[in-house]
């Protein structure tokens, strides 16, 4: 447990090493990146194996940093942070494996990648709002360069849009936190201190502060109508960056909402709760419908991410311990599944076919050309639809149960999102991987009779070992969690018993 802060330091050191070594040898940079990601992940796993669930944050580091403003370098973790830390380690390792084929400026790529990871670890470990904010912003900037340099379609636009949305969101957060700090005469930026400071203000000011902070974090979590950065950004990003963005970075926003924004003021949260819930539901349904009509394979996944993150936000908005624990579980589950989907689309398919147009993919018998990719995508798609046996099922079910307890209407409305998710996932599976076969029927058309005579049945390079390893890693995680969601829920539930969440979670229930 006490080694957890090392995840941050290891990642940043790895970033510097990759930068230094990358100019000489690309392979060395890859190995450094993989070792760094594995080390950090190993630290989180070993902490997880020794983790004793408890209410409240368990102290890791607490030292004065900027005494003039009462800011302390304060790191701590509970079950929620630990869940997301393990996710970060997993997604980071898989991301390195899926970017094994980066050949241009490899060292710089992995340096930025690891810096981003370091920032993410930092956010999940912070117990001081200022520290959290600093790490949060550290995680923003590398995204721009990762996308603008190594991305694909419309990358400069996508990168700029994504970074400006994230930064605007963080500006809202900063404004809200400073407002609470200054107007409430806080002596520091620790969470309890900010909560106390907010409590000293009238309800109007409390609502304003909470709205600013929540909206700022929710921007990064892809809340409707501030979600538009997500599909364009994810589509433009290189595979590993899309995996991280959808898998981990969007969780920063949701985590901020839960850890920083919601506890600030229970009264103000009660005012905002229905608005947040309905925005989340609109996001689920709207993004699902948009995903249904996309022509670009990656855009389908991008919008599906927004739709699934809507469930997280709904779980937070429902504000009872079932819904919120479901939301945290969904963060983990979506992180794994979205990573997997983006890996198949961006790395396995696009890098070989050089197209993501569904119309063009329909003409290719991808299930024969890339059987491994097809299998992985079908499994990931099933997980994404929320089929039992995969992590999506317990997560979304828990959220819906929790939402029902707060307001049955919310649960009913959001449940239609599950149907839409099934529709767009099945559609994209059918079109992208079974396009020809689907039209021709199970027996195959005449031109496939002599397929043995055709010169190149498999014109694409085979799936490489890093891709297989990464895919199996993520698949294993989603299936394990689908079979045994209690592994994580046993960490999350005690954490929600802490006094910080108590007022929110009891106030939101009927």
């Amino acid at each position: 447990m006490n080694a957890l802060p090392c995840t941050i330091y290891v990642s940043f050191t790895g970033a510097l090493l990759a930068l230094a070594i990358g100019s000489r040898s690309a392979m060395a940079a890859r190995v450094v990146a993989l070792l760094t990601a594995l080390t950090a992940w190993g630290i989180t796993l070993s902490a997880a194996s020794r983790f004793v669930p408890a209410a409240g944050l368990q102290e890791l580091v607490n030292a004065p940093w900027i005494p003039d403003f009462g800011i302390r370098y304060h790191l701590a973790a509970d079950g929620i942070s630990l869940t997301l830390l393990v996710l970060t380690g997993l997604a980071a390792t898989a991301g390195v494996l899926f970017s094994w084929n980066i050949t241009e400026r490899t060292g710089e790529f992995f340096a930025l990648y690891l810096a981003l990871i370091g920032g993410v670890y930092g956010v999940f470990l912070s117990a001081d709002a200022f520290v959290l904010f600093v790490f949060y912003e550290i995680a923003i900037v590398p995204k721009y360069f990762l996308i603008a340099k190594w991305g694909s379609t419309n990358r400069e636009y996508g990168a700029m849009k994504l970074v400006l949305y994230s930064f605007a969101g963080s500006a809202l957060v900063l404004a809200g936190l400073l407002w609470a700090y200054a107007a409430g005469h806080a002596t520091g930026f620790s969470f309890p201190e900010l909560v106390a400071a907010t409590g000293r203000l009238d309800l109007t000011q409390q609502t304003g502060i909470l709205a600013l902070v929540f909206l700022g974090f929710a921007t990064l979590a892809g809340m409707f109508p501030l979600h538009t950065w997500a599909p364009t950004g994810h589509v433009a990003a290189p595979t590993a960056a899309s995996m991280l963005l959808a898998g981990v970075v969007m969780k920063l926003g949701a985590y901020g909402c839960l850890r920083v924004a919601m506890p600030l003021s229970p009264a103000a949260f009660a005012v905002l709760q229905p608005y947040i819930a309905w925005l989340a539901i609109i996001g689920i349904i709207y993004a699902g419908l948009v995903a249904l009509v996309q022509d670009d394979f990656k855009f389908v996944i991008g919008y599906s991410s927004v739709s699934h993150m809507g469930f997280v936000l709904l779980g937070l908005a429902a504000a009872n311990s079932i819904a919120v624990s479901g939301a945290v579980l969904q963060m983990f589950s979506h992180g794994v599944i979205a990573g997997l989907l983006f890996a198949v689309v961006g790395r396995m398919v696009y890098e070989r076919t050089h197209t993501r147009e569904l119309a063009a993919l329909r003409a290719l018998p991808l299930h024969r050309l890339l059987p491994f990719a097809a299998v992985v995508f079908v499994l990931a798609g099933l997980a994404s639809m929320g089929l039992p046996g995969f992590s999506g099922f317990p997560a979304e079910l828990t959220i819906l149960i929790g939402a029902w307890q707060t307001n049955p209407l919310w649960a009913l409305a959001a449940a239609t999102g599950v149907l839409i998710a099934a529709a767009f996932t099945l559609r994209v599976i059918a079109v992208a991987f079974f396009g020809n076969a689907g039209r021709a029927g199970p027996l195959g058309p005449p031109d496939f009779e002599d397929s043995a005579a055709r010169p190149a049945v498999a014109p694409y390079p085979p799936i490489t070992w890093p891709e297989k390893a990464g895919a199996l890693l993520l698949l294993g995680a989603t299936i394990y969690l689908g079979l045994s969601p209690d592994t994580l829920l046993n960490w999350i539930r005690p954490a929600l018993q802490s006094p910080a969440f108590h007022a929110i979670l009891s106030g939101g229930a009927p």
Binding site: I66, E137, V141, F145, M160, L174, A175, L178, A182
Partner: protein, 487 residues
């Protein structure tokens, strides 16, 4: 008046070193170095740096001994820190000299730079209207010359002339304001002026004097609507001169006017922390600040010239710094000084990168930076640090500067009045600012180099200066208390 010449000399050792250094540079160049053109730059640079280092050491160790020479100067923690700061910034700017190879008279350039620095250090300590004005003019006249120093370039001449005309006008306003203040109070000492004005209360004549003074301040800080010189000067001036104008001059000016406004005119501050607003200089400064924030950030969006872009970014930063001036009297000058000093470091660095690049060709358009990561990884890395610090990305110093200033302004009255609203506006505009800062970095770090672009060779002194500036920005960003605890 009891004249304490020993005390005066002791206090003014830094200025003495600077002036002697300037003369030595000129003499050595005249009798020895100018016959050896290959070494001329290096001799001037070495002598200039030695003199700056001695002055810097003297300034840093001079100690805050209070009023000097019958209140002509005030040596408090602020003036000690500022004198050290401006000398450091001037040394960093001077280190860019070898790359500005087109400057044909390096010794004269160095000497005038040292005179300008003398003006800055005097501005930092001045506690008397007359001394303040003379110091300001010494600095300004030197800067006019430095801006127009590149005789081969019409833009440089334009920069010098424009700066001179605007500066002369602003100085006239300022002097008129000073004369009114003297007429109202019968004294030139800032602390006595403050006492007198506190007894008299606000009069219409005082308001006129305030506005006149603020015109001079707005010019010095490059704040809207007195900013018009900045884009042209930043564009045309030689890189070391632009670096000095953007950094040390701004720091010294801010400190001079903060001293003038708070201890001198503190009784006429007015209030903008709560509604209704009461009359004084704070509402006017807030107006200037808001105008600068808007105009600087929106103007910068339209720029394709990297130097003009930095000028508009400077205008927007001036807006934030002016907010800091409003808060300085209530919550201490620490945040303001931290912001101004680290901002100076970043602009010296940014112009340093431009200056170092100019040894390999003109740098005006953003596209001239294309492929910098290939041409010189060092410059690209340093530029990334400087630009991200300007954009306010933690853990760089630019972030904490903004954070500290905004927090101290909000502590005045929360969001209950215009001051709080301006802070929210400034925070929102920082998201706009990130856009144009990323445009710079996109060229430098993402775009491919032009076909004819050669690798850049950076001189040793510029390399060291850039590394020092970048290192300080990171270090001060991580340990801001190192500066804040000085006050």
């Amino acid at each position: 008046m009891n004249a304490d010449y020993a005390g005066l000399f002791q206090a003014l050792r830094p200025e003495a070193y600077l002036v002697i250094g300037a003369l030595v540079v000129l003499i050595v160049d005249m009798i020895w170095a100018r016959h050896r053109p290959a070494n001329r730059h290096h001799v001037a640079l070495a002598l200039g740096l030695i003199s700056l280092l001695m002055a810097g050491y003297a300034a840093a160790t001079s100690g805050a001994s209070g009023a000097i020479y019958d209140g002509m100067f005030q040596l408090d923690p602020l003036s000690v820190a500022t004198r050290t700061g401006v000398i450091l910034l001037a040394a960093l700017a001077l280190a860019l000299l070898p790359d500005a190879a087109r400057l044909r008279h390096p010794a004269e350039f160095t000497a005038i730079l040292l005179f300008a620095t003398t003006g800055f250090t005097l501005m930092a300590a001045a506690n008397n209207l007359l001394v303040a004005f003379l110091a300001l003019e010494l600095a300004s006249l030197s800067l006019y010359v430095l801006a127009g120093f590149d005789k081969a370039s019409p833009e440089s001449a334009e920069a010098g002339l424009k700066y001179f005309l605007f500066g002369g006008m602003a100085a006239a306003f300022l002097l008129f304001g000073f004369s009114l203040l003297y007429g109202l109070t019968g004294t030139l000492r800032l602390d006595l002026i403050g006492q007198q004005l506190a007894q008299q209360g606000p009069t219409p004549l005082l308001i006129v004097a305030l506005v006149m003074v603020l015109v001079g301040f707005g010019f010095k800080a490059a704040a809207a609507p007195f900013h018009l010189w900045a884009p042209d000067v930043y564009q045309g001036a030689p890189a070391p001169a632009a670096a000095l104008i953007a950094s040390a001059s701004k720091l010294a000016g801010l400190v001079l006017f903060t001293r003038l406004l708070w201890p001198g005119l503190g009784s006429a501050v007015g209030t903008i922390a709560h509604l209704p607003v009461t009359v004084g200089w704070a509402p006017v400064v807030a107006l200037i600040s808001g105008a600068s924030l808007l105009l600087g950030n929106i103007g910068a969006l339209a720029q394709s010239n990297v130097r003009r872009l930095l000028a508009y970014s400077a205008i927007s930063h001036a807006g934030a710094l002016l907010l800091g001036v409003i808060a300085a009297g209530r919550t201490g000058v620490g945040p303001l000084f931290y912001y101004a000093a680290t901002y100076g470091l970043t602009t010296v660095g940014a112009f340093g990168v431009i200056g170092a690049l100019e040894s390999a060709g003109r740098v005006q358009q953003l596209t001239d930076l294309a492929g910098l990561h290939k041409r010189s990884p060092l410059l690209a890395g340093c530029l990334a640090v400087f630009v991200l610090s300007l954009a306010g990305i933690p853990p760089l110093a630019g972030f904490f500067g903004k954070f500290a200033v905004f927090a101290s302004v909000l502590q005045l009255g929360g969001l209950a009045g215009p001051a709080g609203w301006l802070v929210i506006c400034a925070i929102a505009l920082s998201a706009v600012a990130l856009y144009y800062y990323l445009l710079i970095l996109k060229q430098a770090l993402v775009a491919a180099p032009a076909d004819n672009a050669a690798p850049v060779r950076v001189s040793l002194s510029a390399t060291i200066a850039l590394l020092i500036a970048a290192g300080l920005i990171v270090a001060l960003g991580l340990w801001p208390s190192a500066v804040l605890e000085l006050f």
